[in-house]
Symmetry: D2
């Protein structure tokens, strides 16, 4: 395998070709109309290397709804702002339950298991809102600066649609507020959270924006967003908790830290080597992109780059 920049161009092209022939592609998320209309035939894959080189295949420059992919960036921002103290409010253990479950939250007194289940992501956004007064804008700014794409923005229709179907998240937020683990007023928090999730970006944007995870915490401009140890920690949480109730399966098949979203995107990290972003809107029953997981599986198989 060549070590120069661009070394995965061929493998990416090959995978995109394979994915184009994939027949069982799952179905788009249908809990809000704005996502249900996505075309499961779409597929994009981008690789960002630590030096800023980015390339891809398929629909890799087409914006899609980032949704839960934004949770990685919100988490990184909070860690950069307040460090370890976040972990008194949210755990780092896999949840072992479907991603919306309230059961464990009650069992553990309002402390979510990890920052990537919805309850935990609400806590992270609550912290970011408390620390900055403007959680969603901070996430947008981070994506813009790291990707170099100033056009990345919220999609108000998506945010409104999420809010209109937001009873479960409202329940989670009020429930944690009852335990004192949410301090932002719940309506304000939900507005910030749904805005954050409505961000739209392309595989290219998100692979670049997530490059700090492959660069041990270093931003595009060379400054540190996270310490080396914190970057490693985010990767660890992604590996154990990043793909809903399929984290074990994802580790088993793909073997990389990864975070998926219901928009069909997945960010994955090969520490020190590259950050990947794949996208295809069709989901499996656990909410992960069918072609996305398959493409990452092929990537680690073809390159031998699994962390295991």
């Amino acid at each position: 395998m060549p070590s120069s920049a661009g070394r995965f161009r061929e493998v990416i092209d090959r995978i995109a070709g394979e994915m184009a022939r994939l027949t069982d592609r799952g179905s788009p998320a249908d809990y809000i109309p704005a996502l249900a209309g996505a075309d499961p035939g779409c597929f994009g894959m981008a690789v960002a290397e630590p030096d800023g080189t980015v390339y891809g295949a398929g629909d890799w420059r087409r914006p899609f709804s980032a949704q839960s992919l934004t949770k990685v960036f919100a988490l990184a921002l909070v860690l950069s702002l307040e460090g370890e103290s976040l972990w008194r409010r949210v755990g780092r253990e896999p949840s072992g339950n479907p991603f919306n479950s309230l059961v464990q939250l009650e069992y553990e007194n309002g402390i979510p298991r990890n920052p990537f289940i919805n309850a935990g992501a609400l806590v992270v956004t609550d912290r970011l809102q408390s620390l900055t007064g403007n959680a969603a804008e901070r996430v947008r700014e981070l994506l813009r600066v790291e990707s170099g794409n100033a056009g990345i923005d919220f999609v108000p229709e998506i945010a409104a649609s999420e809010a209109a179907h937001g009873d479960r998240n409202a329940a989670l937020a009020h429930f944690m507020a009852a335990y004192g683990n949410i301090t932002t007023p719940v309506p304000e928090l939900l507005t910030a959270y749904f805005r954050q999730c409505s961000l739209e970006a392309s595989c290219a944007d998100l692979a670049l924006a997530g490059s700090f995870l492959a660069r041990h915490g270093v931003r595009a401009d060379g400054s540190a967003l996270l310490t080396r140890s914190q970057a490693k920690q985010v990767n660890a949480v992604m590996l154990t908790c990043g793909t809903y109730d399929a984290a074990g399966e994802f580790a088993y098949r793909v073997g990389l830290p990864g975070k998926s979203g219901v928009g069909g995107g997945i960010i994955a990290v090969v520490p020190g080597v590259c950050t990947l972003c794949v996208w295809s809107p069709g989901l499996d029953r656990r909410g992960n992109s069918v072609a996305g997981v398959s493409a990452l599986d092929r990537f680690t198989t073809l390159t031998g780059l699994s962390v295991f």
Copy 2:
């Protein structure tokens, strides 16, 4: 035992005397300041006989916060308005879990186990609000008319205090709304619910207002609020579900249909014979009035009037 009206005067006086000497009286509910200040030394007990005779002992004419006692009246109103169809929205089985638990609610897809746990009471108020546009006022009206006391009213400070500590109920309401089992907008529902719970009335008022349960559904004016079968059903739900996670214990010790509230009140029914209301603000760990349960236990022991 004399069968004439007033036949329980002596036994009530005797019990009030015993309760005055009770040393371990529990502690008032402390989740809102307005209840925490109640004097656990208070004790009242009233008996209302089917012919409208009412008498009592101790603080039986002193108003207290009815809280969950209002759930019996809201349930009766909804049953009188829409009958059996309510039971598609709420079950009739004991909950087997502390009264606020979300676990079973999730397990059973947003259908609360029974109308007396908080989730179920929210569904009942949601129905009453949907059917009448004014749930709390309807409950107030029923209490006023049946008791003959036009002074029964809401306590805005109590309602406001409940709302300020209402995250858990908000969580329950949003959670059920996510399952389509709440149709009133959640903020409107919570306002109605907290108003309803803030009603203040005396043992005398509540024993009279609950007389329809001893009269097989017949109101004070001789008209039917409930059918004979429905009245029997409400009594059955009170016996199996009326005292939080202590329904078995209450059936075992007292042996009457009963409904308790965190204000320290308990309504109990001897079908065909009388309706009782006791009040003492000190609660046991399950949220039932210590002196109240004890007084009812003594009543059935002394009169032999348990349903078993």
Copy 3:
């Protein structure tokens, strides 16, 4: 309604006639072959009055598998032998979960919610075995003496079949043993338990044998098996916990203390008036006899004898 002995003969005959025309009768329990073969067309109903008068209709003299009906008798024996101390080992609250669930048992540290779910019945048999060395024989003896039928006996094939399918009960017993709440060696306990459950008796036998519950604890010979208070307590536990996850429904429809078994039998008590036993092998989805519940519903409707 006549108050002399035999006063329910007509109503029983009428109900048996109605039940003969019932079309939807449920299906026999099929977890063991010995029960699966029962004819859902069978129906029997017997009434035992406090003076020992017994009569019935349909298959009221035909023996059937008593199964969980024996739990009432085992409970009464343990209460008569050690009284209140039993309640440190088993609760008296409805379970709020399907009858075999392990969840609440774990949540409550090996103390079953009540003596009628399987876990609780195992604790009762464990106590009876510890206190007498011969739990199953004691239950058989009680049934024989109270019914006057010395032919009541175990059915070894049923006991063997239960044992062959006994993994869930074995799991429950070992689980409670891990908490120190079972002291008999598990294999010995299970043998006793499955023997006890294999007892075969008729509606006539079981109504007579359960007469002490309508006689406030007094046995057929006039001696006390239970105190008045204990008899009342057993009735209370039957009402709140006697019909698996349908206790609320049973209270609501029938309104009497009752205990059902998967053999299709149900014992019900009208305190001070009579003990009933109905039998029909077809069960509903919660494990209660369809025709049995229906017959008892008709009985309380026709006689007005509900406790509510």
Copy 4:
């Protein structure tokens, strides 16, 4: 960092020195007497490199009770014998619950979440027993051959003590048998399981025996125990599920696939580089060796060898 064999000698010595000064070392497992007597002052650490070089520090040659470390070897044996079909009987997802919990097992119909919680390990041993007739001996044989130490053996006193306190495992086994997911008779299975767990070996033995995981499945003699893909999969399951309810924490702090046992041992893998085994009997509240986790944390910090 030197790439020759023995390159971690200095770092191991340094860590052993640090661990000797550790003051808070936790407490040995006390659920069976045979483990409770272990000296928490003990500490051993061994590194086995792919070429068979092994070295260590502290008590690295002293045998200790392998306990759950044996689960890795049993899993590898079953995968080598029947491959993917194992995953129809046991999942690969983290459990999100304390390691003995029955709740999820019931929720998921007798299919354990992963092969490293007790329920899952029982399924693995059940498979190994079914496939070979001699599960415990096969595990012993694998350890002996791979480590080159023919003295590795069971400790009958440990096995007997586990059996005497084995009610919870018996409950798990019977519970899964009720779902048809255990086919070996439960007493036979438990005997095999407790024997397997009673194996005693040193850090040196276990690091060597686990070398196939760093060698992509290749045994000491050059033959394949597992395919490259299977070896990667075992590492993935170790990372996400190997340290009870602290897998996220372990990934976060250490960042290596690891499996711990209540005897105080931990096996960890740096794929392609080495297998480590640490041992110190004092456990934290989640059942992992305090000094063991700390030593591995130091190892990845000092060498930069975390997979993240």
